[in-house]
């Protein structure tokens, strides 16, 4: 493969056969570079942390969604039944709070679930149909049985040859340059 100008390179990517090898490689590279991605066919415990994953954010937004859903539901019921149009239904009090609980609960759950899902997507920067990494040969195996480790060109002090050397030392199945 020919040497390229770093600016045309998106990342330098190594392909591994199994999670264990990937783990070790990740640790090694992480010691040297900051912007490292790993692509696996299924979640691998601890890998994200190894890559320096900090803020998850999903639980927080789930809580927010839940509170919004529940609070909104109860307010809506109280406002419509007590303030906006009070009507005597079966002699029950206008503010029949026990009856207001079920919708409140349901909407709490709904709000939380939607928030969790959306937070997961957006924090992950999805949906993103077009991504340079898809250009990489063999990358379709990332959703089957291969494990990839990519050092992004944006990494401070990134140098293709140095990175290639580093990766080569980790016995990958192959190493490829992913064009930007």
């Amino acid at each position: 493969m020919t040497k390229q100008d770093p600016r045309q390179v998106f990342a330098l990517m190594a392909e591994f056969a199994g999670p264990a090898a990937l783990m070790d490689a990740a640790r090694a590279c992480r010691a040297r570079y900051r912007d490292i991605d790993a692509y696996t066919p299924y979640p691998i415990e601890g890998l994200a942390e190894v890559l320096g994953f900090r803020r998850n954010g999903v639980p927080f937004w789930t809580l927010v969604g839940g509170i919004a859903g529940g609070g909104g539901a109860y307010f809506l019921q109280w406002y419509s039944a007590v303030i906006d149009y009070p009507i005597n239904s079966g002699g029950r009090p206008l503010h029949s709070w026990p009856a207001f609980i079920p919708p409140t609960f349901e909407l709490t759950v709904l709000g939380a679930c939607l928030a969790a899902f959306l937070a997961m997507l957006l924090l992950n920067g999805l949906p993103r149909l077009n991504h340079p990494i898809f250009e990489a040969p063999d990358f379709d195996l990332a959703t089957r049985n291969r494990f990839f480790l990519a050092i992004r060109a944006t990494a401070p002090g990134f140098d293709v040859d140095e990175a290639r050397a580093l990766l080569a030392g980790l016995h990958p199945m192959r190493i490829v340059e992913v064009p930007a």
Binding site: P41, P43, A48, N56, F117, P127, T143
Partner: protein, 452 residues
């Protein structure tokens, strides 16, 4: 995570490697030619779907009077179907959410199609209350929205709670199911060899590329959803049961209903799951993914929930006499000796007596036996709901109003049609989406090789 186990996950050689799993399951959708049996099933279910559409069309044209409902039995088939379908819809989420929390790893090979089953069942269920309205074109009046009448829903009505419970349940089920599908859609996108399929699956895969951080958030969200879905499942059928226990009709007005209905729901849910799983694994050669072990576990769950239901039957009768309310007692006596007694005893037979066979090991291991039992329980549970709803109404406070319900052709057509529509949707799901979660299986394979 032992390295050799890890090796078992990827390196070619041992069975059930990630590659094999992926290719086998993705193959069903992408490569495998359509089976003639599949087409036959599709045809039959399509025919019944048409019947459903005809029945609904006629219903809208003429009115709910085409059904057998009367005074005092103003609810019958439509609501029975509703409760029955919602119940069936419970197993899916229960399996995928509740068992996930309990770390029941065997669930991985059945949760996907169970969730699909849930969605389609709840869709059918959601339709019924709308169909049964006297003026269905005003169904949206049950939802709160600013209108020129300045009138709101009546929040004390369990029917309004229903809207929220069912609505929430179907949305959450779909989200949960779709989220589980994301990685598999990515797999299909990458395995697909035609541009059309690549685009179709690719769009819905939302560009999933299996990045480690993504996986991390993904698992968090999935776990949260599971945690939220579990109480939701319980709440939904509890709310449905309130449609009855909230009313003061003798035979309805009972505090045991929520747990009673939830148990019944899971009971029928597992039954349906079995009824679907057995032919599924046979037709698509998935015997080594959905193993006897899986079936046996579902059988056990069915037995447990069945016993809960049986207990509830007992308590119902007991509390009537223990409570000493004349009307309640009258209802119970009429239930087991009156005009609807045959139904009542059929319920006992289907839901209590026959399922005791599940104590026998060989029954739990025999796919065929489980399939048959599933059908029996499904019938039994439908009859149970029919009994609770119709018999109680037909025999309430003032003897002068007592009147029996007799179904009409259109009642039966609606029920049969809804089953057809359900089957149609499920078959299409099998054709176009992976019936078993590949990503999760890969993970499982990597954790512990699946030869037990």
């Amino acid at each position: 995570m032992a390295p050799e186990a890890a090796l078992a996950g990827d390196a070619p050689g041992p069975r059930y490697s990630g590659a094999v799993i992926t290719d086998r399951i993705a193959g069903i959708v992408l490569a495998r030619p359509t089976h003639w049996g599949f087409l036959a099933g599709l045809g039959v279910s399509a025919a019944f779907t048409v019947l459903f559409l005809v029945a609904v069309g006629y219903l809208f044209a003429v009115g709910v009077g085409i059904w057998g409902i009367d005074q005092p039995v103003a609810w019958a088939f439509a609501i029975t179907n509703f409760v029955w379908w919602v119940g069936i819809g419970h197993a899916g989420t229960f399996i995928s959410a509740f068992l996930l929390l309990l770390r029941q790893h065997w669930r991985t090979s059945i949760n996907r199609f169970a969730e699909a089953m849930t969605i389609f069942a709840v869709a059918m269920a959601g339709l019924m209350p709308i169909l049964h309205l006297g003026r269905p074109w005003f169904f949206y009046w049950l939802a709160p929205y600013p209108d020129v009448m300045n009138v709101w829903p009546q929040w004390r009505s369990p029917l309004v709670w229903d809207i929220f419970a069912i609505g929430t349940y179907i949305i959450v089920s779909i989200v949960f199911w779709y989220m589980g599908l994301l990685p598999d859609l990515a797999t299909l996108r990458d395995r697909a060899r035609t541009r059309g399929k690549q685009i179709a699956y690719g769009v819905f895969a939302l560009g999933w590329r299996g990045e480690a951080r993504h996986w991390h958030r993904y698992e968090t969200a999935y776990l949260l959803l599971a945690g939220l879905a579990t109480p939701l499942v319980i709440s939904v059928h509890s709310v449905v049961s309130l449609d009855f226990s909230f009313g003061l009709v003798p035979g309805w007005h009972s505090t045991i209903f929520p747990p009673y209905f939830v148990a019944g729901a899971l009971y029928s849910g597992f039954a349906m799951a079995l009824v679907l799983a057995v032919p599924l694994r046979a037709a698509f050669g998935l015997r080594d993914f959905i193993t006897e072990r899986h079936l046996a576990k579902m059988g056990t769950l069915m037995l447990v929930t069945g016993l809960l239901v049986a207990y509830s039957y007992g308590v119902e009768v007991f509390s009537a006499y223990f409570g000493g309310d004349a009307h309640e007692i009258a209802i119970m006596e009429d239930r087991y000796t009156g005009a609807y007694a045959p139904v009542a005893w059929a319920v006992i037979l289907c839901n209590v007596v026959i399922p005791q066979a599940l104590w026998l090991g060989w029954v739990r291991r025999s796919a065929l036996a489980l399939f048959a039992l599933g059908l029996v329980v499904l019938v039994g549970m439908w009859l149970e709901r029919f009994l609770i709803i119709v018999q109680s109404l037909a025999h309430d406070f003032l003897p002068s109003s007592w009147h029996l319900f007799v179904p009409t052709f259109w009642d039966l057509a609606t029920l049969a049609g809804s089953i057809g529509a359900f089957a149609l949707m499920f078959l299409l799901f099998l054709r176009f989406l992976p019936a078993i979660s590949m990503a999760e299986l890969r993970k499982e394979a990597h954790h512990e090789p699946m030869h037990q």
